[in-house]
């Protein structure tokens, strides 16, 4: 199973995402922002970081990268895509996911071990979990507040597209404690916390994040 990890200028967690793919048993394939080619990968991770310095608006420049044209087409065709943090922001800017991510309500960057509840397991990236399962993974963002209009939020809830929700503490002011969402088809998932930092007992608070990566590999094998 080949899972692409895109590196934009300013991507930071690309090595971590690739490591998580490997630990889950897949082959990580490095994809370059300027290369309009997905090299036949079976799924793609858009990793965290500050693409293009996030100087305009998080993800706003990255969505115009050559690789994104191919990615958007493929995602619309059903290719599994996981956007983590900056990747989530890029997916929203690309209109693969609704809503937007805004400055944390605390106005501070926040890095913490965050408790989440998995709300949906019917996406390509969460099938290894149980609905209602609680996990702890690192969260680190300055602009992680998920916002959308009430109708969109209602639709996301109604269609079971809220993938994960913050528990105990809402770290960034996200509406309805939303930590991650999926598109209608469930192949595209955006997540503000960082499951790729919770895949080894040595370096993560838990190994709870591994499920995102095993989900996709399991799904690909079964497909």
């Amino acid at each position: 199973m080949r899972v692409g990890v895109v590196t934009f200028p300013g991507s930071l967690d690309d090595r971590d995402a690739a490591r998580a793919v490997r630990i889950a048993g897949g082959e990580a394939v490095a994809l370059w922002h300027a290369d309009a080619d997905l090299h036949g990968v079976d799924a793609v991770v858009l990793p965290g970081g500050f693409s293009y310095g996030d100087y305009l608006r998080c993800g706003a420049i990255a969505r115009f990268a050559p690789v994104m044209g191919e990615l958007v087409k493929a995602a619309q065709g059903g290719l599994p895509v996981l956007g983590i943090c900056n990747g989530f922001q890029i997916l929203c800017e690309s209109h693969l996911l609704p809503g937007a991510l805004v400055r944390n309500d605390s106005l501070h960057f926040v890095c913490r071990d965050q408790r989440l509840r998995i709300e949906s397991t019917s996406t390509a990236w969460t099938s290894s979990y149980e609905v209602g399962q609680e996990i702890v993974v690192p969260l680190k963002n300055g602009e992680g507040g998920y916002v959308a209009d009430e109708a969109t939020l209602d639709r996301l809830e109604g269609e079971g597209r809220v993938v994960a929700r913050y528990l105990e503490l809402n770290p960034n002011g996200s509406r309805r404690d939303i930590a991650g969402i999926a598109n209608e088809r469930g192949n595209v998932v955006g997540l503000m916390p960082h499951p790729e930092h919770a895949v080894e007992p040595l370096t993560g608070p838990t190994t709870d994040g591994l499920g995102f990566f095993t989900s996709i590999l399991k799904g690909l094998v079964e497909a």
Partner: protein, 761 residues
């Protein structure tokens, strides 16, 4: 506004033709005798461009002119070691950690800029130290920040601290470097002179070491990275080398502005050209910008360089050539590249969207010649700029107040005398700004990125994995107690070394090498110079005794406002190696029933202690005794105990003694312990003394004998204190003046967590 570059008003020909022209050397920070020396070197007056170069390169910040004669001791007293691959004098020292791996690490100060403009000052401090590390061919893998501020409740601290923290986070997070530790210390002595030190750690394979030198006549000098602007002009000379006076003019324009995104590209671009073998020599541009990079590269190489300054990409086309030479615009590097490799080099720059310009070439003339609009504006022997600056033997005098300070021992201070008073005192300390939880600060830093952080704050040392296959890793800690150094600068430096050394060993890593950031007042004050000379002597002696060589460091003078200097603050960073990071020891109390023991001897030592500071506002007496042999034995027990899996937790004992160590271990683990003060031991002394060479450890009950045997082999005293409780259990100390002192974890956590948010929002 004109967009045409301004002509230089002063060429070498002008300097020869008009020797009488008055020059503003004093405004540029040069003394009259230094100006005369430049004229002597050149055989004429300098041009304005040359004057600019000499003034920045001969500033205290760049030339170490007041400290050089003392710093030699780090070389003279260097312990025998085969671990040092690159020693002092390069951008950063390089240490062999085995398996073909090496690490490079260094601390630098950005104190003055951070006071003027906290966010950018702190941000560019990270930027500068990171470029030092990549210049050595290493990939930066972690940063940490020793920070010192004025009183926590002073209004100006509320201006400086949040800006500094946001700047460190804003820059470091965007670079993708985990921030794994550091210090946050408050003391009124830092009110007008906060200390913002930044440490960066890099890893490399032995074969990838690169040095800053321009060799090979005909090779090209490439400037790449950000365009040059007007920021930070004279920052080195004006900001770092002068004392702030109240009511002086605003100095904000001399602070640089950082662009972490460009720095991230610069890291990736630089490592790619280095690993592809496309670079002959490399140098970062920091203080003194192009002046420093060209003169140092030329001086370390074949000795000659010809630079066409018009080729420097500019952000501001109104800059004069003198300003271009002095600009401290961030995120720039200079590389020496052969003509055969230049196309490949420029291709890599293009791949990373990094601007690059060929600004000159290496020559065999022995001169650094810089031309501007076809005229020669600089023609100097590069060594005289980069290395042969003035060296001062500053007057040294032990301050007349030192004896009175030492005589004012803490023995007469009122001590708690009941279990209830001990309980209240410990709570007061737990919530005091220096001991309170630093989560408000560290939660603004990314500690996870790169996925190799094994331990990060509030652990004793940061531990990062270097090799994912073998588990080889390094631990690093920075420490200094400025109060100890004020009472006794010689032993204060040794105490800082001892604490950092112990912190590294507490994680199970074997201490290997030392870096430092020596923060002091004005070298023109003989009392400060005495503190400095004593501290350097202490650190050099201490490193020799511990067998840990100094690999490099940084001196920051002029940390004083008016006549009042900061406490002498020799921040010491110790690096250790751990063969397998899986075996590291963390500080959290864990398994119920594990036995809590203290290693080392507790004496009645309260001078300069956190207790005297917080409870009595007292500073006086003789600081805790330094026993580096005991530190060494303790470290051997901690490392052996970690390797063999004997220790289930370990934590260094320092500020506020065993009480604070137990509180931190309990909060980290979410479980308290029940300990008993041994009969015949004074509970207050046991709990709050700051005697050195101690650690609190836990082992399973069946391993107590093994630990006692291990400690016995090394001559380390062991005292059994008690046992770890059930999850959520209180921290309980029995036999305290006939009573019991206990704290619930909730009250400890609430007390520790409340302080910084209440102060800083």
């Amino acid at each position: 506004m004109s967009t045409a570059p301004r002509k230089s008003r002063d060429t070498v020909d002008d300097a020869i033709a008009h020797p009488e022209r008055e020059q503003p050397y004093a405004e540029l920070g040069l003394k009259a005798n230094e100006y005369e020396r430049i004229k002597e070197i050149l055989g004429r007056r300098p041009t304005s461009g040359e004057l600019a170069m000499y003034s920045v390169m001969w500033s205290e910040h760049c030339s170490y002119k007041s400290s050089k004669v003392h710093l030699r001791q780090f070389g003279d007293k260097k312990p025998e070691t085969d671990k040092l691959l690159v020693g002092i004098g390069e951008n950063a020292g390089v240490v062999d950690i085995g398996q073909g791996w090496a690490v490079t690490f260094k601390v630098e100060s950005h104190n003055h800029p951070s006071y003027v403009e906290p966010y950018q000052g702190a941000a560019t401090g990270i930027g500068g130290i990171v470029r030092d590390i990549i210049s050595m061919g290493a990939r930066p893998v972690a940063v940490m920040d020793p920070l010192r501020f004025g009183a926590a409740d002073h209004p100006d601290t509320r201006r400086v601290l949040p800006g500094v923290v946001a700047g460190i986070g804003g820059y470091g997070n965007c670079l993708g470097l985990p921030n794994i530790g550091g210090e946050v210390v408050f003391d009124p002595c830092y009110q007008g002179n906060p200390l913002v030190n930044a440490l960066c750690l890099g890893t490399l394979r032995h074969e990838d070491i690169h040095l800053a030198s321009a060799k090979g006549v005909g090779n090209l000098v490439v400037l790449y990275g950000a365009k040059t602007g007007g920021d930070g002009i004279g920052g080195a000379s004006i900001l770092a080398s002068e004392t702030f006076e109240d009511g002086g003019p605003a100095k904000r324009p001399a602070v640089q502005v950082g662009d972490p995104f460009m720095e991230k590209l610069l890291i990736e671009c630089t490592l790619e050209v280095l690993h592809a073998g496309l670079v002959e020599g490399i140098q970062d541009l920091g203080a003194a910008g192009i002046s420093c990079a060209t003169s140092e590269l030329a001086s370390n190489g074949d000795g000659g360089m010809h630079v066409v300054l018009d080729k420097v990409p500019l952000r501001d086309h109104t800059l004069t050539p003198e300003e271009i030479l002095m600009s401290e615009s961030q995120e720039r590097m200079a590389a020496v590249v052969t003509p055969a490799n230049i196309d490949a080099f420029l291709d890599v720059c293009r791949k990373w969207d990094v601007d690059a310009a060929i600004i000159g070439e290496v020559t065999g003339t022995g001169r650094l010649v810089i031309e501007w609009q076809g005229e020669v504006i600089v023609d100097v022997p590069p060594r005289t700029v980069a290395h042969d600056g003035p060296v001062y033997e500053r007057p040294i005098e032990r301050p007349d107040w030192q004896d009175a300070l030492i005589a004012d021992a803490p023995s007469s201070l009122k001590r708690p005398a009941s279990a209830e008073e001990v309980r209240a005192t410990v709570l007061q300390l737990v919530g005091s700004p220096n001991l309170a939880s630093k989560t408000w600060v560290t939660s603004q830093y990314d500690r996870y990125v790169l996925g190799n952080t094994v331990l990060a704050q509030p652990e004793d040392a940061g531990v990062v994995r270097v090799d994912e296959g073998s588990g080889l890793g390094v631990a690093i800690s920075t420490d200094c107690n400025g109060r100890f150094a004020k009472l006794d600068p010689y032993n204060g430096a040794k105490l800082a070394l001892a604490e950092a050394y112990r912190n590294v060993a507490a994680t199970g890593a074997e201490p290997l090498a030392v870096t430092n950031c020596l923060n002091f007042g004005s070298p023109e004050d003989p009392a400060v110079m005495w503190q400095f000379s004593e501290a350097v002597r202490g650190l050099a002696d201490g490193c020799l005794e511990l067998g840990t060589p100094v690999t490099g460091g940084n001196v920051s003078f002029y940390n004083q406002t008016g006549d009042v200097a900061i406490h002498p603050t020799p921040v010491v960073g110790v690096l250790g190696v751990i063969d397998d990071v899986e075996k590291r020891t963390a500080m959290a109390l864990g398994r119920e029933g594990d036995v809590v023991l203290v290693l080392g001897e507790t004496r009645d030592e309260f001078a300069g202690s956190e207790w005297a500071h917080v409870v009595h506002g007292h500073l006086g007496g003789i600081p805790p005794e330094v026993d580096l042999a005991a530190e060494r034995w303790l470290a051997q027990v901690l490392v052996a105990g970690s390797r063999s899996g004997l220790l289930s937790a370990a934590h260094d004992v320092s500020d506020a003694g065993i009480a604070q160590a137990l509180v931190e271990m309990s909060l980290r683990g979410g479980v308290g312990a029940t300990v008993t003060v041994p009969d015949g031991t004074d509970p207050f002394v046991l709990l709050l003394s700051e005697s050195t060479a101690r650690a609190v450890v836990t082992v399973s009950p069946s391993d107590v004998a093994a630990l006692e045997s291990l400690a016995g082999q090394h001559g380390v005293p062991v005292t059994r204190l008690g046992v770890v409780g059930a999850p959520g259990a209180d921290l309980v100390v029995e036999n305290v003046y006939g009573g019991t002192a206990s704290w619930t974890l909730d009250e400890l956590r609430a007390t520790a967590d409340a302080t910084l948010p209440a102060l800083f929002g």
